[in-house]
Amino acid sequence: MNLKKAKEDAIHFIFLILGLIAVGSVLVITVYLVISGLPAIREIGLTEFLFGQRWASTAAQPEYGILPFILTSIYGTAGAIIIGVPIGFFAAVYLAKMAPKKVCAFMQLCIGVLAGIPSVVYGLVGMLILVPGIMRIFDVPDGASLLAAIVVLAVMILPSVINVSLTSLQSVPMEYEEASLALGATSTETYFKVTVPAAKSGIFTAIVLGIGRAIGEAMAVMMVAGNVANMPSLFQSVRFLTTAVASEMSYSSGLQRQALFSIALVLFFFIMLINATLLVIKKRSQSV
């Protein structure tokens, strides 16, 4: 009997360990990023690092200011949200409320495919269609620009924006809509003035998730944004926080390499901020 209990306890313990691996991974990632990211910040100086406007890591007199990357990441993400969220939102309202069943099933397949396309494929198509297209339409010398990155990011966040909004729209109780219809509102008015406000927290979650996805995307952006460390401007070649890390990692050394880890730390900080926001939304919607 005792032996059996010991065995059960041992199995319990094994499962506990397996469960704690996720916690351990988060800790390891955080600790490693902080440890490898701090030395360069200390050496360069926090304000100089965060607010320096010039990044010239390979120059004779290297300068490590990452303000261009931070601003590019913020502008790029904001642009993607401004384009992607309205499209995703209206598409979700259509799918949740107006679409016939067959259309809904077909679109769900479409969105699934859109979500599953690897980011390098988006990058490839962006690089060979979008970049030359921007060059021709806007008559600029090089189409690899912030604008190209914004468009690609907007497309990439669409599936998650649609899916999350859709789920929250579908979970709004029928009674709300019925009450609104009974009071004489048209069906469209009901969808936008009753259902959408009721699904507010879910739609907000969708936006925040979109921000997270856009700010963390590296490969597709790397292929279309041109990768020059300029201050952000719509038609100029720019570098994001993610691409700054990715593009110099393979040949970096010394302080330059440490500075790349510091950039990753800054990116990680942004992501944690987004995660915290998501948590707050979730807590608030549960308490209501």
Binding site: E8, G88, M98, L114, P118, L128, F268, I271
Partner: protein, 286 residues
């Protein structure tokens, strides 16, 4: 009953409806464009020679067989490692855990993991697995990075599936005198196998599409190796190969060919997840 709506209400309603139709049209056109364009450009380039040979500098030919094999190795290695961890963690959360705090901690960790961008996984993977653990840039190091990345996926899908196993099954088994482990092994796990399979399919999809996390952990060699040897050496997966061919070597034909292959895999995985979802719904409905 004739409703008289004011003009402004009519216009507002029509505008909103129009915006909905325009948005859904944009999404549809985008998807179809991506699919058709990549197939149009890529499928003609997918030749038997391309997918069955290694690149040769002597003959100036490019073959992607090593990249295909590397992708398969990475998928297998990652699944073998992530399945026990993810399923085990889910079992702990739903079957064993009594302490609310521990459950919240693990769920919070999983959520945090799923929010971390792949480039950060790649960086930490490089520091921890390649350098600290001395694995060098190898498929094994890449797989271990992907294990952490896919852990939340497997954990969540398994957890959802475990919740659908009726409590009465467990109680029945306990009443017959079975121990906890035995109940889990013989009653709970078989009941949630669909959820685990769905998790696996989702994870495979994510592994196939991943590139940023693998760039610094698996490297980009194109050598044809066996499984064990392959895990220990550096090698490009299909996505990394696509990136290298497109961005660094300007071989757009090969890049499109790889893109077309990846698209086909994406569609297959999508259909498989939809099918598994329907299967689970049907079973839960019973």
């Amino acid at each position: 009953m004739i409703q008289q709506l004011s003009t402004s209400r009519k216009i507002w309603g029509a505008c909103m409806k129009a915006l909905c139709y325009i948005s859904i049209a944009i999404v549809t056109v985008l998807t179809l464009f991506m699919l058709l364009y990549v197939f149009y450009k890529g499928l003609p380039e997918v030749t038997w020679e391309l997918i069955s040979t290694s690149p040769s500098y002597l003959r100036h030919t490019i073959g992607i067989l090593p990249d295909i094999m590397n992708t398969i190795y990475v998928v297998i290695a990652t699944l073998v490692m992530v399945l026990p961890i993810g399923v085990g963690a889910a079992i702990y959360l739903t079957e064993y855990a009594k302490n609310r705090k521990v459950v919240e901690l693990i769920e919070f960790a999983a959520e945090t993991l799923s929010g971390i961008p792949s480039i950060i996984y790649g960086l930490v993977g490089m520091l921890v697995f390649c350098q600290f653990m001395g694995l060098q840039t190898s498929l094994l190091a890449g797989s271990m990075t992907l294990v952490i990345m896919n852990l939340p996926t497997i954990l969540r899908t398994t957890q959802e599936a475990l919740k659908t196993v009726p409590q009465s099954y467990r109680e029945g088994a306990f009443a017959l005198g079975a121990g906890k482990w035995r109940v889990i092994r013989t009653v709970v796990l078989p009941g949630c196998i669909n959820g685990i399979v769905t998790g696996c399919i989702l994870a495979v999809g994510r592994i196939l599409g991943e590139s940023a996390a693998l760039l610094f952990t698996t490297g980009f060699a194109h050598n044809l190796n066996g499984f064990i040897e392959g895990l220990q050496s550096s090698g490009a997966t299909l996505t990394v190969a696509l990136y290298v061919y497109a961005k660094e070597q300007g071989e757009f034909e090969v890049a499109y060919a790889i893109a077309a292959i990846l698209m086909i895999l994406t569609i297959i995985i999508n259909i498989a997840t939809t099918y598994m979802g329907k299967l689970m719904e049907r079973r839960n409905g019973q």
